[in-house]
């Protein structure tokens, strides 16, 4: 299902695909920022040291077997005198290697947990079963904004993420950008991260959080400063007025039917806070926390019966009249 989103997004929204940076392969070994780079460095150090130890131990074992097979009893007894020295050397080397790895680990950890500028962009992330609530913080309340599952950040600038959980323990993990950080109910925590290259970096909940844990993904879109500011301004605005007759009817459906009880569309009477904010739904690349591409076909199936796609999620089936469904789709597609 996830691979499907990765390959599908670019095709589902051709105009967005031209403007958006490319999706980057989800991997710890392809770091895109200083924090992730230090983790990758530590990974390679560990790999190299452990591989060398493995080869040396196997070589020594092979040599010992070969020697005992070729040698006579008399020379074996002579060899016992050097055994003590060999064991001492082995223990000494092991201690030295482990100490070296400890130093490397401390170096990596210092970079991972380093702090950025105090005036950095601050993003509050709240974990829900099974989606991510995203809020861009600002000293001016009217400039704060809420969205879901898709986080935009400017490249080359440190960003602070503050975490909370609405229900159970989740874990925020975008392997190309940072290590994991748990979202524990009742405890707040924070990490810094920075992306140095533009791209769409996939993130995933990394702590089992219930039935749809695997379908709790998010995207971090790293883009230029100008693109980021443009996105921020657009997201701060209220939902635009429906442009077509059908979309206008769709808004009426949205407000009159059950949608508005759980979802917010700023600028309308919909202030529900059970599900994601849909004010700018159409600007997002995926729906259902990275489960499906955001296209009309996927949206339709999701609205009518999301339980076959992501069983157990909070959204109930919505058996709308066919005409109401078509109007609702027209409306949601205009929420850019």
């Amino acid at each position: 299902m996830h691979r499907r989103v990765a390959t599908v997004v670019a095709r589902a929204t051709p105009t967005a695909a031209c403007l958006m940076p490319l999706r980057v392969f989800h991997s710890v070994l392809e770091p895109a920022g200083p924090q992730a780079a230090s983790i990758t460095w530590l990974w390679w150090v560990m790999f190299a040291v452990c591989a060398a130890v493995f080869v040396i131990v196997l070589g020594a074992t092979g040599a010992a077997m070969l020697r005992s097979w070729m040698r006579s009893d008399a020379s074996a007894r002579a060899g016992e005198s050097t055994l003590g020295a060999a064991v001492a050397a082995g223990v000494g080397l092991t201690v030295a290697i482990l100490f070296g790895l400890l130093v490397a680990d401390i170096r990596a950890h210092r970079i991972v947990s380093s702090f950025g500028a105090p005036s950095a962009i601050s993003i509050a992330v709240t974990g829900h079963q099974w989606w991510w609530e995203i809020e861009y913080e600002d000293a001016t309340p009217s400039r704060r904004l809420k969205t879901a599952n898709e986080i935009h950040i400017p490249i080359g600038r440190p960003v602070v993420f503050k975490f909370a959980s609405h229900d159970v323990i989740h874990s925020f993990w975008a392997p190309n950008l940072q290590g994991k950080r748990d979202l524990v109910p009742g405890i707040s925590s924070a990490i810094w991260l920075q992306a140095d290259r533009p791209g769409i970096y996939r993130g995933q909940c990394a702590e089992f959080c219930g039935r749809q844990h695997a379908h709790m993904a998010f995207d971090i879109v790293a883009e230029s400063d100008a693109d980021f500011e443009r996105w921020l301004d657009a997201q701060r605005g209220s939902a635009r007025e429906p442009q077509s007759e059908e979309a206008l009817r769709g808004r009426a459906v949205f407000l009159a039917r059950q949608c508005a009880f759980c979802h917010t569309v700023r600028g309308t009477g919909a202030y529900g806070n059970v599900g994601p904010d849909l004010t700018h739904l159409a600007s997002r690349g995926t729906i259902a926390a990275g489960t499906l591409p955001n296209s009309r076909g996927h949206l339709a199936g999701w609205i009518v019966n999301s339980q076959t796609i992501k069983p157990g999620n909070q959204m109930p089936p919505n058996p709308l009249e066919a005409g109401d469904l078509q109007a609702l789709l027209a409306y949601l597609e205009e929420l850019r």
Binding site: M1, R4, V8, R11, A12, L292, P293, S295, R296, G297, H298, L299, A300, G301, W302, V304, N305, T308, I309, L320, A322, G323, L325, Q326, L329
Partner: protein, 124 residues
């Protein structure tokens, strides 16, 4: 005894593979599309979020009718005679065919429509 069983199994496998190849060839000839590309395309447009479609792992939904044996069904959408032209028309412009349908126009291109129809005609 054992050997005869093996021979029969192999024969069945060969015949089945031959039949499947025939089904694919027929579907390609009827539509001019490619069933393999069609299976990928119908996931891209989200057909699988509403329909159960044999052979497509993600397609286990029950919003619309299952497309099991759609190749040999008499009518499409309850009104169109089932032929390749009507199949493609229905896939690409459902609301033009039936204004009261819940099936949305998902923006299927002509080429993708041919491929999707080709895949659906392999479902016998």
């Amino acid at each position: 005894m054992m050997r005869r069983g093996c021979v029969i199994c192999a024969l069945v496998a060969v015949i089945e593979a031959g039949c499947r190849a025939g089904v694919y060839r027929d579907a390609m000839e009827a539509t001019g599309g490619d069933p393999a590309r069609g299976a990928a395309a119908l996931r891209r447009y989200g057909c699988d979020t509403c329909h159960t479609i044999p052979g497509v792992q993600t397609a286990q939904a029950n919003v619309g009718p299952p497309l099991t044996a759609i190749a040999v069904r008499t009518y499409l959408a309850g009104e169109l005679p089932n032929n390749p032209a009507n199949m493609q028309e229905w896939i690409r412009h459902p609301r033009a065919v039936e204004p009261r349908t819940a099936m949305p126009d998902t923006g299927v291109t002509e080429a993708d429509g041919r491929d999707i129809a080709a895949y659906l005609y392999t479902l016998r």
